[in-house]
């Protein structure tokens, strides 16, 4: 990362945030809602990308961190009537705690074993949400409408059920996670994570405790997943076990690969492209997943490094 590119890097990422700020006034309500969802899910993918793209660890269990954030925020909102800010903190804390335990156990493995072990733990988590259905209400889930007290910011009262508020909550979540990701991958920590991805043995012989760094990457990744999970629960007003199922572990993997793993903007681009592809295809045919599948295969064959990865290779090698 040369000094002369720093302003360009900041410029590109600020441009995206400002574009998203501006879009809410011009797009119709349907896209308004869709964009809000995309931004929160992109934040989830950003967390996933820190682990896959920068540390080289492919997890197939991130749904448990997403759902831990969702339940960690949703259950206290639903049963205890806490405020939304407290709920977000509880959601983050839940996934953070879970990731420390899971990480300590699973990071003894790597490669395919890590993939399988994380998937198994996530299945345990998913089945637990079904087993304790008296609390979680299982598959059916629960609706948060009526459980979201307005937030008071001084004289300002913020109502979270208002679409404008939801959009901007999603945007703030996305911006924070994008900022964390951008800062982290350019920091000394990010340099070590990339080194672990490239050659863990060598990194250790340079004097780095690679286990500790991998655990750090996993907990940050999980905390971001938990944060986005808790925000997703609030903006959709719904918490359910389906978000803990394996599909929600596969999604961030696909979004990240499609957008470009190991690029800061890739997760957003991947999430946006895929969500819009599904939306568009489902309008024309009921077997839209076939269309989505074909497009995915074509994209991955054309751009094996992902969309942003291909862009970076050709036009902007300085992009982090």
């Amino acid at each position: 990362m040369r000094r002369d590119h720093r302003s360009a890097i900041l410029g590109v990422h600020w441009a995206l945030i400002l574009a998203l700020v501006g879009l809410q006034v011009v797009v119709p309500p349907f896209h308004h809602t869709l964009l809000a969802r995309i931004m929160v899910l992109a934040a989830y993918a950003i967390g996933y990308n820190l682990l896959l793209g920068y540390t080289g660890l492919m997890s197939l269990g991130h749904a448990m961190f997403f759902a831990a954030g969702m339940y960690g925020a949703g259950l206290p909102l639903f049963y205890l009537g806490v405020g939304a800010p407290q709920a977000f903190l509880l959601g983050i804390a839940a996934s953070l705690l879970l990731s420390v335990v899971i990480g300590t156990l699973t990071l003894r493995t790597s490669g395919v074993s890590f993939l399988i072990v994380t998937m198994m733990f996530a299945q345990v988590f998913y089945l637990s949400t079904l087993y304790f259905n008296r609390i979680t209400l299982g598959d059916q889930g629960f609706v948060l409408a009526g459980h979201l007290p307005p937030i008071s910011l001084g004289a300002l009262r913020v109502t979270l059920s208002d679409p404008v508020m939801r959009y901007n909550l999603a945007l703030a979540t996305f911006a924070v996670c994008l900022g964390i990701s951008l800062w982290l991958v350019q920091s000394p920590i990010g340099r070590v994570l990339v080194a672990i991805r490239e050659n863990e043995d060598r990194t250790q012989m340079l004097g780095y405790n690679t286990f500790a760094y991998k655990l750090l990457a996993l907990t940050i990744s999980a905390a971001i997943a938990g944060f986005s999970g808790s925000v997703y629960a609030v903006i959709t007003s719904y918490v359910g076990a389906s978000f803990a199922a394996i599909l929600y572990s596969i999604y961030p993997l696909v979004w990240t690969l499609l957008g470009g793993s190991g690029t800061v903007l890739g997760p957003f681009v991947g999430t946006a492209v895929m969500t819009y592809t599904i939306e568009t295809a489902s309008r024309f045919t009921s077997s839209y997943l076939i269309v989505v599948g074909v497009i995915l295969v074509a994209l991955v064959m054309r751009f094996p490094a992902g969309i942003v990865g291909a862009f970076r290779r050709r036009w902007a090698p300085w992009l982090p």
Binding site: R191, V192, V194, E198, R202, Q204, L206, G207
Partner: protein, 244 residues
């Protein structure tokens, strides 16, 4: 503790052994390296040299025996802690980060020592390290695209940037052209003032140029130790290298 020698030894192994299943790769090795020396470790392929230094660096755990660094027990110490103590290893097969630039490679080593939060300090130290090995021009090139000789030099830059007290070099001239060997030799000589060096090397010219003390390994044991002249005259060594 009383003797002078015990105080000056930088590294000491006592009855250090490693068994892989039924094979004894290293058997009861007592090795003493004094501060400031360039010690050569030679021996035929499969003698156990790399296994021995791997135990010293903490890449593999010994089956039995002890390792002392500056009179401190490090037998069970993790490899990354030993790097912090000053034991630095360069790999036999060049093991740089091929997809990262030369700058990033050396930055990883510098950052281990200075922290890396101050970008200016980092850039300056990396620049100096690259200039020292003549790689300043390769700063922003992916390490994997450098010629083999330059990759070896980069590996040495990384090792030196860690400011080692004991630098373990595993065949640093392997696969290099003659003029490149000269450059690596001079580089090792230039580090020797600041660091003690343990050098595994097959090229006898390099060994004789650099080192005043040689240890010879065969079948997991140290069979001879002494000055180059003593080693050349040693019957056991002749038998190992030339056959009975």
């Amino acid at each position: 503790m009383g003797s002078v020698a015990a105080v000056t030894a930088l590294l000491e192994t006592r009855a250090l052994s490693k068994r892989f299943g039924g094979v004894e790769a290293v058997g009861s090795v007592d090795l003493r390296i004094e501060r400031g020396e360039i010690r050569a470790l030679i021996g035929p392929n499969g003698a156990g040299k790399t296994t021995l230094v791997s135990m010293i660096c903490g890449r593999i755990a010994p089956t039995s025996g002890r390792i002392l660094f500056k009179n401190r027990e490090i037998t069970r110490t993790k490899a990354y802690h030993r790097v912090a103590f000053g034991i630095v290893y360069t790999f036999q097969i060049s093991s740089i980060f091929k997809h990262l630039t030369a700058f990033e490679n050396v930055a990883l080593a510098v950052q281990r020592r200075v922290g890396g939060l101050d970008r200016d300090v980092l850039a300056r130290e990396v620049g100096e390290a690259l200039a020292h090995t003549g790689l300043a021009g390769a700063r922003d090139r992916p390490a994997g695209s450098l010629p083999h000789g330059h990759q070896k030099l980069l590996e040495l830059s990384m090792a030196m940037a860690l400011h080692p007290q004991l630098l373990v070099l595993d065949e640093p001239t392997q696969g290099l052209a003659r003029e490149e060997i000269g450059a690596v030799s001079r580089l090792i000589q230039s580090v020797a003032g600041a660091a003690t060096i343990l050098l595994i090397e097959h090229n006898m010219q390099v060994v004789l140029d650099l080192s005043r003390r040689i240890s010879v390994m065969d079948r997991g044991r140290i069979i001879a130790e002494g000055t180059p002249a003593e080693i050349e005259a040693n019957r056991e060594v002749q038998r190992v290298y030339l056959g009975p």
